[in-house]
């Protein structure tokens, strides 16, 4: 009997709970099963069990399960966390409320500062002080703690956060405070800042601890119920939980510090892009994920995603937002997706997004009463999306509504309906080009060295136009692009990113000290993995140092190979100078300083292995289903060949103008593009001569 290994990814979104199952037969071939069902608040595990049932997956047959959820970000943005009490260093309880004092909307005299998540009467102070070098300036005095906790109880506090000054440098006071709180009030969830991050900046660290405490009971409850529900149906091993750093983590560890999954949604897709890139020999990738509401992009270099801790929620040009100092994949997100609304301002200028028509009423073409023209409407009108195969044939496109909506935009602009639709696509593309430039050209990367990998429901529609503008090497659209995030989850490692701030002048004698910082972090990581049953020998590390010229503030991350010794310092400094010059066009002969480390610890947890298929004949004729006129905006109208994506087989090749349609995605192939289907059924698009 054939043995099938079932790997399942489930993803709980605001509206739908998605399932993607990868069933690997013993001959290495893989079937992909997808299913979708409603999200079921507040008992989210019900939706997960429903979608498993709908997909015909028995939990007991699942060998590996990964789970992504928006529970943390939703609890934050909807303010549905718990009441938090904060304990901090004497003299600094207002740090959380003073914040950074900035007013990004700087001409606006009516700006309103974001309110802190913990009001002043629930922010308590304790004496004791560390220095920035980690010495004890004043001893910790916990004599006031019982009264503080008593006050918190009386106020109905449900979780406690601790953040003490300079705890990144010396954790002793935080550890002692944590232990004493656990002793005095064992039931209360409590988190100290050093458990989440060892980086400096007290406001950011305090806010991170507070927000972690704020969501912890909510997330722990959610994960506990999910685990119990799945186990009761026979799932043998707890699901791994997708994190913001592109890794997965154990359910237990995630329950303790759930804030690490705050931005897990986009992370899996970008991780998938990195992994797929390795598979197809394209390790330098510009990854683009276009959904209904937003487009997100990230740059992958040498197969590595970039992870940062400069993450903020609700931050924009009109609000300072709130920092969360956790490892998050470096991405740029803009309000530009398939449902983004095109609008004309008071001064006759066309804009696309950031407002979205959402799922309801959705684009005008949904026929659900939407009167605004969206990017999707423009794509339909231009023949790029098949009006007779809209949403994989599940929706009859209301072209009258689309025409009315586009005509209105054209009228405001004084142009024809066709021109309005072209304009919408051009402006939407330009918004996305600018986002892609932010992660590439603006950081000193030459886009000509990169492959654009586009996924999500709308990625493939715009990818070629964006790729041409940025003159990328080529464009690749992965197989099953619309469920690519699930693929990413299946490829994830158990991964933790450790950031530790410690200032070290990069000069003779510094090597051993730096090695010791890494050594300590690695030992800690190994121990944590070991406690969870992972063989320490399976744990691998990546070491990054964060460097700057003395007196600067911002750092440049440099990958360090091998042990750090004095002998290695010259090479390290050289690598820093080079990385710095690439990004900023100059270098200085100033002293170099290490500000801290970034250690990546990871271990494989049975990820999916893809096997290449035999390449068949290049003739794509069997997949050709017809022709239609497509408006390529800048390149005019052309008769395009229409291919059925499900019938395109490895080895097939053809030339644009063409459109590839499958139920989840439409790939727009421009005139002159050369297309090849690879052994994993990914679509490679060579752009030909740049205009």
């Amino acid at each position: 009997m054939a043995e099938t290994t079932r790997r399942v990814a489930t993803d709980v979104g605001g509206t739908f709970t998605d399932l993607v199952a990868f069933e690997t037969r013993d001959d290495g071939t893989i079937d992909i099963v997808t299913a979708k069902s409603d999200t079921t608040p507040p008992d989210f595990e019900t939706g997960v069990l429903n979608v498993l049932k709908k997909g015909g997956i028995a939990p007991e047959s699942v060998s590996f399960m990964a789970h992504g959820t928006t529970v943390v970000i939703n609890a934050l943005t909807e303010r549905k966390g718990v009441k938090v009490g904060l304990i901090t260093t004497e003299g600094f309880r207002d740090v959380l409320e003073i914040a950074r004092g900035n007013r990004p909307d700087f001409f606006n005299l009516h700006y309103v500062k974001p309110a802190p998540f913990v009001p002043r009467h629930l922010r308590a102070e304790i004496p004791g002080r560390m220095t920035y070098q980690g010495g004890e300036r004043a001893p910790l005095d916990l004599s006031g703690l019982p009264a503080i906790l008593e006050g918190f109880r009386a106020e109905g506090v449900e979780a406690v956060a601790v953040c003490l000054l300079h705890a990144y440098s010396n954790t002793d006071h935080e550890v002692a405070t944590l232990e004493e709180i656990r002793r005095l009030w064992p039931e209360v969830p409590v988190v100290a800042s050093h458990q989440i991050t060892r980086e400096w900046r007290e406001y950011e660290r305090t806010n991170t601890a507070v927000l972690s405490a704020y969501v912890q009971p909510v997330a722990a409850r959610y994960l506990g119920k999910l685990d119990a529900g799945l186990k009761s149906q026979g799932l043998k091993k707890s699901p791994y939980i997708m994190q913001s750093n592109c890794g997965v983590d154990s359910l237990e560890a995630t329950s303790a510090v759930p804030i690490n999954m705050v931005e897990s949604g986009p992370a899996s897709g970008f991780w998938g892009a990195a992994e797929l890139g390795k598979l197809i020999g394209e390790e330098d990738i510009l990854a683009l994920d276009i959904g209904g509401t937003t487009a997100k992009c990230s740059l992958i270099e040498d197969g590595e995603v970039r992870i940062m801790t400069d993450y903020w929620i609700e931050r924009s040009g009109i609000s300072a937002g709130y920092p969360i100092m956790v490892p998050v994949v470096d991405l740029v997100e803009i309000g530009n997706g398939g449902g983004s609304i095109a609008w004309v301002d008071d001064f006759g200028k066309l804009h696309v997004g950031p407002q979205s028509a959402g799922a309801l009423p959705g684009p005008a073409a949904y026929g659900k009463g939407g009167t605004n023209a969206t990017t999707t409407d423009a794509n339909l009108w231009l023949g790029r999306i098949n009006r007779d195969y809209f949403c994989g044939g599940e929706v009859v496109a209301d072209m009258d509504a689309t025409e009315t909506a586009l005509k209105a935009v054209g009228k405001d602009l004084g142009v024809s309906t066709d021109e309005a639709a072209q304009g919408i696509v051009r402006i939407a593309n330009n918004n996305m080009v600018n986002a892609l430039k932010l992660v590439s050209l603006n950081r000193g990367h030459d886009t000509r060295d990169f492959t654009l990998l586009a996924f999500g429901g709308g990625g493939a529609m715009h990818a070629v136009a964006l790729g041409q503008e940025l003159q990328v090497k080529k464009v690749v659209v992965p197989a099953a692009a619309s469920v690519f995030s699930a693929f990413g989850m299946m490829m994830s490692d158990l991964r933790r990113d450790y950031f530790v701030t410690q200032l070290v002048d990069l000069r003779e004698g510094a090597g051993a000290g730096i090695e010791a910082i890494f050594g300590e972090a690695e030992a800690k990581a190994r121990k944590t993995f070991e406690d969870e049953g992972v063989d320490p020998a399976e744990v691998t590390f990546l070491r990054y140092g964060k460097f700057r010229y003395q007196n600067q503030e911002h750092t440049t991350e440099v990958l360090l190979e091998g042990a750090v010794t004095d002998a290695a310092l010259d090479k390290i400094a050289g690598d820093f100078h080079e990385a710095y010059e690439r990004e900023y066009t100059y270098r200085l002969d100033a002293p170099v300083e290490m500000v801290g480390i970034h250690l990546v610890a990871r271990a494989e947890v049975g990820k999916l292995e893809l096997k290449p298929a035999e390449l068949g004949a290049p003739d794509a004729g069997p997949a050709l289903k017809g022709q239609r006129e497509v408006d390529y905006a800048l390149e005019g109208k052309h008769q395009a060949d229409i291919y059925d994506g499900d019938k395109l087989a490895p080895g097939m090749a053809f030339t644009g103008p063409a459109i590839i349609e499958d139920p989840g995605t439409t790939i727009v192939i421009h005139p002159g593009n050369k297309v090849e289907i690879d052994a994993y059924r990914n679509t490679h698009i060579n752009l030909g001569e740049a205009k």
């Binding site: 740090v95 409320e97 700006y111 000054l165 300079h166 400096w200 950011e204 040009g317 200028k349 100059y586």
Partner: protein, 517 residues
């Protein structure tokens, strides 16, 4: 004619060129006042110096660099060549502010023709002069305020002028910082110039010019739309000052123009409290933009309806030898006066007064752990005014700041030779029927070694104003606590010797209150 979508695409690229320049500066600068306080601005202008786009974290540096470029053009004219990079910091030569703010401006050539300028202005920690940080209060002439760069070439046709670089480094107490900051600015300009040239290669210089002209029309249209919604008429405004004087001005608003007549302003001061005509103009621009079109979108058109009249010999239009070090307090007082007048006399939709001071504090000394020199130059956060609907904001930087970040205590203690003993919100006084002003901040700096301090602030004597019928806010203050004594400091002092163990206590004002609706 270029189609409108192409114009939009090019305009977006010009905006991102200025923003990109700003990002580069923020990431590479050596001085905290650049990368945290964001006392820095970047700009793209047309070939003739009309503002096209600005990258800035603070409104004080939007609409500044066009004035610098125009001054360079006036001086150099046809001699401007490809590969030139100009420096200026002197208000008499397009510097606009004070000597600490150094402008780096570069013409962008395409096919042999100048098509645009990219420039940046940034506050350098020390440009020489008689006191660390260069902002002395006891000077009477600009000559005493530091090194003057009266439009000089750092690069001439691509050739680096080593002499200029050497003179700059030699004249600063922080030579490594100024060198780092200078290169950060040059690098930022290069980045933007490259973007603009690639834009020209893609769309042609003619399209670039058309996009600029179209953007200016949009800027003007936006300004006029906002102007039409303002109360029309002529309003006499006045504000009492800490030195006992009263400033007067007249604001005249019509559907086409917004005129600020500063002819009645006091005579120029002997001390460094003057600002040049362009400086007064920039102050009025901030308020004008806030009233007419508070979004960030800004170009020459956005400010076209604004006229500012100054009287030569006054604090807003002083003689060439006048000192300018604390121009920013004069400028923020001007905004405070105009804001109050519009709120009280014209009934404009504005909150009550704020702590209305940059409150720049300079502490310099030797770091006890590293032995390296440090100079902290930091503005303060304070309380903002209430509206009838809501209390004022607590602890924000002034109107002239924006996306300015305070320095984290954990970073400050590593960088500077003091500890921050505490940093907390001040007390609030609450009256019935009023929305209270926002709270100021009390910060206590405990010195770990000797140092020198300079400070200047407004509203140290005259309290922050409330809206009509509501309570005033507080006052700004600074004192030194030494051996059990509290030594209150005057509003403007420099070269104050600080001892190890001294505590410098900064207390910023609460904002003004408003009657509840």
């Amino acid at each position: 004619m270029t189609d409108q979508f192409t114009l939009s695409v090019v305009q977006a690229a010009l905006d991102s060129a200025a923003e990109e320049m700003f990002e580069v500066l923020r990431k590479t600068a050596m001085s905290p006042i650049i990368y945290e306080v964001l006392d820095v601005g970047t700009g793209v202008t047309s070939a003739d110096g009309a503002l096209v786009s600005s990258g800035a974290g603070i409104p004080s540096f939007v609409g500044v660099l066009d004035k610098s470029v125009k001054a360079i053009l006036a001086k150099e004219g046809d001699r401007v060549a490809e590969g030139d990079v100009f420096l200026t910091n002197d208000p008499n030569f397009g510097g606009v502010t004070h000597l600490n703010d150094v402008v780096v401006a570069e013409p962008v050539f395409f096919e042999g023709v100048c098509i645009a300028w990219v420039s940046s202005i940034a506050h350098w920690g020390d440009i020489g002069g008689s006191t660390p940080g260069s902002m002395a209060t006891d000077v009477t002439s600009i000559v005493a305020e530091g090194l003057r760069l009266p439009i000089v070439r750092l690069f001439s046709k691509g050739e680096r002028n080593e002499a200029v670089a050497d003179i700059i480094q030699t004249n600063s107490r922080l030579p490594d910082f100024v060198k780092g900051d200078l290169w950060a600015q040059v690098s930022a300009g290069r980045r933007a110039a490259r973007l603009i040239r690639s834009m020209c290669a893609r769309y042609g210089a003619e399209t670039l010019r058309a996009a600029i002209a179209d953007a200016h029309e949009t800027g003007l249209a936006r300004a006029l739309k906002g102007l039409a919604d303002l109360p029309q008429g002529s309003f006499d405004v006045a504000q009492e000052q800490d030195d006992g004087s009263t400033w007067n001005a007249t604001i005249t608003i019509t559907p086409e123009t917004f005129t600020v007549d500063l002819s009645d302003a006091p005579d120029q001061t002997v001390g460094p409290y003057n600002t040049c005509h362009d400086g007064a103009l920039v102050a009025c621009q901030i308020l004008f933009k806030a009233l007419t079109d508070p979004e960030r979108y800004a170009n020459t058109g956005s400010f076209a309806p604004l006229k500012v009249i100054t009287r030569p010999g006054s604090i807003f239009d002083p003689s060439p030898d006048a000192a300018h070090g604390y121009y920013f307090e004069t400028r923020i007082r001007l905004i405070d006066m105009l804001w109050r007048g519009l709120a009280e006399k014209a009934g404009a939709d504005l909150p009550a007064g704020s702590f209305a001071s940059i409150f720049g504090l300079v502490i310099a000394g030797q770091h006890p752990d590293t032995g390296r020199r440090y100079t902290m130059v930091e503005p303060q956060m304070g309380g903002w005014g209430a509206t009838p609907e809501r209390p004022g904001n607590d602890a924000m930087f002034s109107t002239n700041h924006g996306d300015t970040f305070n320095c984290p205590v954990e970073v400050a203690e590593a960088r500077y030779g003091f500890e921050v003993a505490s940093k907390s919100l001040g007390d609030t006084a609450h009256s019935d029927g009023e929305q209270p002003g926002g709270r100021g901040v009390v910060t206590r700096y405990l010195m770990r070694g000797e140092g020198v301090m300079s400070v200047g602030f407004s509203h140290g004597v005259v309290p922050v104003w409330g809206l009509p019928g509501a309570s005033d806010g507080g006052r700004n203050a600074l004192s030194i606590h030494r051996d059990g004594n509290q030594l209150e400091q005057a509003t403007f002092v420099s070269k104050v010797a600080i001892r190890s163990g001294d505590e410098i206590v900064v207390s910023t004002a609460n904002g003004g209150s408003a009657r509840c609706t």
